[in-house]
Symmetry: C2
Subunit: 413 residues, 2 copies
């Protein structure tokens, strides 16, 4: 009854999964200031020109450019000072600049009517309170930022599917957009399986292990803007697992099962997902992380993660993250990581045809200011392997080893 | 009265600042599950061996290694099956394994008394319900994870000053550590200066500009685990600025002033900080971001950021971030960034002796799967420059340009 699966390359598995994952459809409208890290569910068109008035890019004098024709150090042009622009002043309250006139203006100050250019302070000299000498010729627009220099009315600023960053909150507020419609947070159901597991706050006796994967996953999910729903620990019991998976599929948008490290439990999970839905991936050509399952149950993605914590975290980072991004409504997932460059202190062996991920501790040699990458020798059963590591080194499937001394990029945890 | 300052190299300015910044001293004790991204204020010693019992690393049979001497496919060793270990079973309830005996065991199952090794399933064959043939010789400890294989009682697992990551929460819970003492969040006072500024939710008229920097800074600070305290907008008025800076220094651990783009306001900020405390840096040899001030007032760091949003964000990322990390109690700040590798679509000019930071839009060529880096041509006065960008390209001070076609690392916003 168990269909035979072949372990898939990571990229191939991600493509297969993404082809079956839809963005969630529900949205919510939030104050712009509360929408950082959320995914836009609407295109944002700029409602007005920003800043909405022409302003000076320099401290200097607002003039009519035509008046400065031929001005130089040797042949300055003399203009009458008709006033001084204050920061924030309504330009409609300023006197217009006519032929033969100049108005003092600070950087960011609104350009008075009549003026079409600014001569920077360094190119001027005041003759007295009423007259200024200009040493440079300017053309219309010199040192002037137009009324739509920041954003133009009607411009498409952000597309739906864009994840709002801190600077984007600034951009939205600059346009006067005080609320936005975003996808609601993706709800991710977390199930831990294994008769050996107890909740971390419970007393423990020999033979039992504290359940930690769902706590780690919760923090990783929250850092991605998702909401974790814990469905607790399910012992190695087929009917309980079935009921919990069905409940998770009903109550969440994406389900992560972790554990089932014994052969029996692994098989049950696979059989159960085949029975409840469709299994698309069983096995990844990566180490650690091979025993990964991707299934779709009632249109919801269900991912079976390896039970040991190192593999669980690795598969989350490499496989769950793109699936979650797509489900969250993200249009583009940039191939970017938090990286540090470091030099390998020992050769890292690998196997051809398999992507390896190796835990790395970084050591800073303070006297040389150089960063060294030391492989952490630890079993992937052990959370200590990650606790002792700063990051992960990727060994591509085409390499048999990365030699000692190589400068590598380490992806930080 | 204004002391002459020379613009400093970024690295030099950071070193000068860090020499004067102390970690905050106040701590708080939190449930471990609420302490992700917080900075430990205590060393963490492991209180007990983890997992606390010897367990199998494989599905197979627990045996006395000495019994397997000489076993091979040709000359299997026959042992009596005395039982089967269940996941989570208390090893004290298991029958001891004596000479001539084997006990079935799953991956993660507790090793019964007497057994000192595991023969993996693939190296065995069951003769009948009571007897198993072993095809491989094992030595004591083979496929066994010891009681302290994950963490050893008394081991120093994390040092004070370590920022807790998701995997570290898992490690703490695995050790049964349910609460930790962390530094309290750093409170950062935010002051925006400029008579042209109005709060974003207020009506605006020509000449005025919506205040956005403190909103951007708030989100950047929160992503670093700090708490932002907004002290509002101060018009270009010396006495109001003085009172607000004094209040900010009293109420927060670090003060960020942004704005004062007019010459007058810039000078006031400098003079005021010289009067209230000590100015250590005035001017950075970077573009954008030159008009940056670092001062210490009543032992608190006060940083004057440029008013235009691009420079403000840049100086936050490059200069404020390490200062904030030190103030937060962080012991080590890894030189890591979220990076994407891309190919430059046009030459980026720069100036020798100055570090340039250029806004970059990334474009994915879907047919070639290649990422291109396009410089965003925008004024640093304009938040749109960052809204249109995906990241920032760093041009070191030794370079006059980075040529078109170069593969560069882009630091994502």
């Amino acid at each position: 009854m168990t269909r035979a699966f072949q372990a898939k390359k990571l990229d191939e598995a991600i493509a297969l999964a993404l082809a079956r994952v839809e963005p969630i459809s529900e949205t919510e409208t939030l104050p712009t200031t509360d929408s950082c890290s959320r995914v836009l569910a609407e295109d944002i068109l700029c409602p007005e020109d920003v800043p909405g008035f022409a302003r000076s890019a320099m401290d200097g004098y607002a003039v009519r450019a035509s008046e400065t024709h031929g001005a130089s150090r040797e042949r300055p042009v003399l203009l009458k000072i008709i006033g001084s622009v204050e920061m924030g002043q309504d330009p409609r309250t300023l006197p217009a600049v006519h032929a033969g006139e100049a108005c003092e203006i600070p950087t960011g100050g609104p350009l008075p009517d009549g003026a079409d250019a600014v001569v920077m302070l360094e190119e001027t000299e005041r003759q007295n309170d009423q007259l200024v000498r200009l040493f440079a010729e300017v053309t219309p627009g010199t040192h002037v930022l137009s009324a739509d220099s920041d954003f133009r009315r009607g411009e498409l600023v952000f597309k739906a599917g864009h994840k709002l960053r801190a600077v984007d909150i600034g951009a939205l507020l600059a346009m006067g957009i005080l609320s936005v419609t975003v996808y609601r947070r993706v709800r991710v159901g977390l199930i831990s399986t294994g008769s050996e597991l107890v909740e971390a706050e419970q007393p423990i006796r020999p033979g039992q292990v504290r359940q930690i994967n769902s706590h780690i996953l919760r923090h990783l999910l929250e850092s991605q803007g998702a909401q974790a729903i814990s469905l607790g620990i399910v012992p190695d019991d087929r009917e309980k697992l079935r009921a919990t998976v069905q409940r998770a599929v009903r109550e969440s948008d994406l389900v992560l099962l972790s554990g089932g490290s014994s052969v029996g439990a692994r098989d049950w999970t696979l059989e159960l997902l085949q029975e409840l839905g469709e299994v698309l991936v069983h096995g990844l050509q990566i180490k650690p992380g091979k025993p990964t399952i991707f299934a779709v149950v009632d249109t919801k993605p269900v991912i079976g993660l390896p039970g040991n914590p190192v593999s669980c975290v690795l598969v989350f980072e490499k496989f769950v993250r793109p699936v979650l991004a797509r489900r969250s409504g993200l249009r583009v997932l940039l191939p970017a990581h938090r990286l540090a460059s470091a030099q390998l202190t020992q050769t890292v062996p690998s196997a051809l045809g398999r992507e390896d991920f190796v835990a790395i501790r970084l050591r800073l040699d303070e006297s040389f200011g150089r960063l060294y990458a030391e492989p952490v020798l630890g079993h992937s059963n052990n959370i200590s392997t990650l606790a002792r590591a700063d990051g992960i080194l990727h060994v591509p499937s085409e390499l048999e080893e990365i030699p000692e001394g190589t400068h590598v990029w380490v992806e930080l945890l």
